[in-house]
């Protein structure tokens, strides 16, 4: 692209004022969304994704039932107003299908599908705003939505994008940066530190790749903390509301009103 914005200036700041390894602000809202069994609104900088999860429930089509485990169905929709240039993508768009397939195959080994034979789990991903890191935001939001739906997972899946500007690695790129530097997305399962997803679409020497890849793996674990705090806050708020969470050991900060809309953290 022709943009001649300075990606990283001499002071070590990026175009939006961040440092090399600084992540954008993350906001997580886990409040109930309509009839969905679980949902998560995930905002990272200007990228915003809403994921709702239904299920496990009866499969709509008999042909989709699998006799010994649950079938996972992912539908992705990218809002026409989510980018600078207003563009309506059809549901058959290959990029959207690929995004859905990537989310499906990322979560297939993570969800304990064998507990729900012949059932179906529907994951609906609605992209509201995109400013880089779309895949990683969608994966993080899906993890959170699945957890709020009470669906058993082996672990969190925490994804983050990273790139390299000449020799400097950077984390969590914006669209502007994605257009200019080679970048990759890595999804980590924090308990074991294993990687479920790696995508790279731009040319990068394998020595550089190794460096950026390792940084992204570490960043995934940081993200895990954020996600876990949001889940724990939500869970303990609900537990408190049910009258279960009497302060024991852990300091309780019981406020007067029980508002479960957790905004920014």
């Amino acid at each position: 692209m022709g943009s001649r914005v300075e990606i990283l200036n001499d002071g070590g700041y990026r175009s939006d004022g961040r440092r090399q390894f600084e992540l954008r602000d993350i906001a997580i809202d886990l409040s109930r969304h309509g009839q969905a069994d679980g949902s998560a609104m995930y905002t990272q900088g200007l990228t915003e994704v809403l994921v709702t999860v239904f299920g496990p429930r009866e499969a709509k089509l008999r042909s989709q039932t699998i006799h010994n485990r649950a079938n996972i169905n992912v539908e992705v929709n990218i809002a026409a107003f989510s980018t600078g240039e207003r563009r309506k993508r059809s549901r058959g768009d290959k990029r959207i299908l690929e995004l859905g397939a990537a989310i499906k195959s990322t979560f297939e080994p993570v969800i304990q599908t064998h507990l729900y034979p012949r059932s179906q789990i529907d994951i609906f991903v609605q992209v509201l705003q995109q400013d880089g890191g779309l895949l990683s935001a969608a994966i993080n939001a899906t993890t959170l939505a699945l957890i709020t739906a009470g669906i058993p997972l082996f672990d969190y899946v925490c994804a983050v994008s990273s790139g390299v500007h000449s020799t400097h690695a950077m984390l969590d790129l914006t669209t502007l940066e994605e257009n200019d530097v080679p970048h990759l997305t890595v999804a980590v399962m924090p308990r074991t530190g294993k990687i479920t997803l790696v995508t790279l679409e731009t040319r990068l020497h394998s020595d550089r790749f190794e460096e950026v890849f390792r940084i992204a793996c570490e960043a995934g674990k940081v993200l895990h903390e954020e996600m876990r705090n949001a889940i724990k806050a939500r869970t303990s708020a609900l537990a408190r509301a049910m009258g279960e969470g009497h302060p024991a050991g852990a300091p309780s900060n019981r406020e007067g009103d029980e508002d479960f809309e957790m905004g920014d953290d």
Binding site: E58, R118, T148, P152, A239, F260
Partner: protein, 292 residues
């Protein structure tokens, strides 16, 4: 996140919140229950929720999840499909429940054998979209539950409306049928489906012969006066508000909440439209909560 056996004590374990991937304890000393899995000699949580321990069994109870049926549970469901000698019923579980033709009371005597003619007129008993109350009878090999309505208390639902809440808010109690003083009947299905309806007098319900097929499988609502309609709507909205604030439900809580709303002279609509009213209602019933 170690579950410490020595200083532990039931309370600290009970209130412990965990989330997927967190190691709870060693699998040598403890047994894994629901919401956990074992890897490398460790019991690890697979859901977010409260850790519970019964003797050596560690379970994690998710706070928001689909209904997990047990035999003997009372559920409210909706017919989704009429199939060969059976109905499929949506009961908020991981698969549709099955109601066998042989598990319902048929007209002309409770104990009679089912005939081929019954198979042909299954839709006259239940058809797609009908709501019913039933009991979980057994499970099939694939985990789907089988229901029965072989009791006068069970069967098709009329004269009211359905409210859905998270199943965890419905506690297992002696009875799930309540008649509130305001002339409203409640059926608290353990699957989180609640049926709120006009009160039916006991003798009417039972009928003369003990079983009146026409009444049981009727699709016609009785005459409902305005006051009862308002009461049904008020109870429904009270349930919605309490469920939105994750308050466990039983008859005492609901009676208290209902009376509070009447006392404060709020309209039925206020409950859903005004957040201050909703918050005030929740604090008002806090004292009447069921013991857990």
């Amino acid at each position: 996140m170690e579950v410490d056996d020595t200083d532990g004590g039931e309370t600290s374990l009970r209130s412990k919140i965990t989330s997927p991937g967190e190691s709870l304890t060693s699998s040598q000393a403890f047994m894994r229950g629901h919401g956990t899995y074992v890897e490398d000699d460790e019991v690890i949580a697979s859901v977010a929720g409260t850790v519970e321990r019964v003797n050596k069994l560690i379970t994690v109870r998710p706070l928001q999840t689909r209904y997990n049926p047990e035999v003997g549970d009372l559920v409210v469901g909706r017919i989704t499909e009429v199939a060969a000698r059976r109905w499929k019923v949506d009961a908020n579980s991981r698969q549709d429940a099955v109601l066998m033709l042989s598990s319902v009371n048929l007209p002309g005597g409770v104990q009679r054998r089912k005939l081929e003619s019954d198979e042909l007129q299954m839709r006259t008993f239940f058809e797609e979209g009908d709501l019913l109350v039933a009991e979980v009878q057994a499970f099939f090999a694939d985990g789907a539950m089988s229901l029965h309505t072989r009791s006068l208390k069970y069967g098709k639902l009329r004269n009211g409306q359905l409210v859905t809440v998270p199943p965890i808010l419905i506690l297992r109690l002696k009875s799930h049928f309540y008649s509130l003083p305001c002339g409203v009947d409640l059926i608290l299905g353990l699957n989180g489906y609640i049926w709120v309806s006009k009160h039916v007098k006991d003798n009417e319900q039972e009928g003369e012969e003990g079983f009146d097929a026409e009444a049981v499988y009727s699709n016609q609502n009785d005459e409902i006066d305005d006051a009862t309609r308002a009461a049904v709507a008020r109870v429904s909205n009270v349930i919605r508000v309490l469920a939105a604030h994750f308050v466990p439900l039983n008859d005492t809580v609901l009676v208290e909440a209902y009376e509070w709303v009447v006392e404060q002279e709020y309209t039925v609509k206020d409950l859903l439209l005004r957040e201050d009213v909703a918050d005030a209602l929740v604090s008002a019933v806090a004292t009447a909560r069921p013991d857990l």
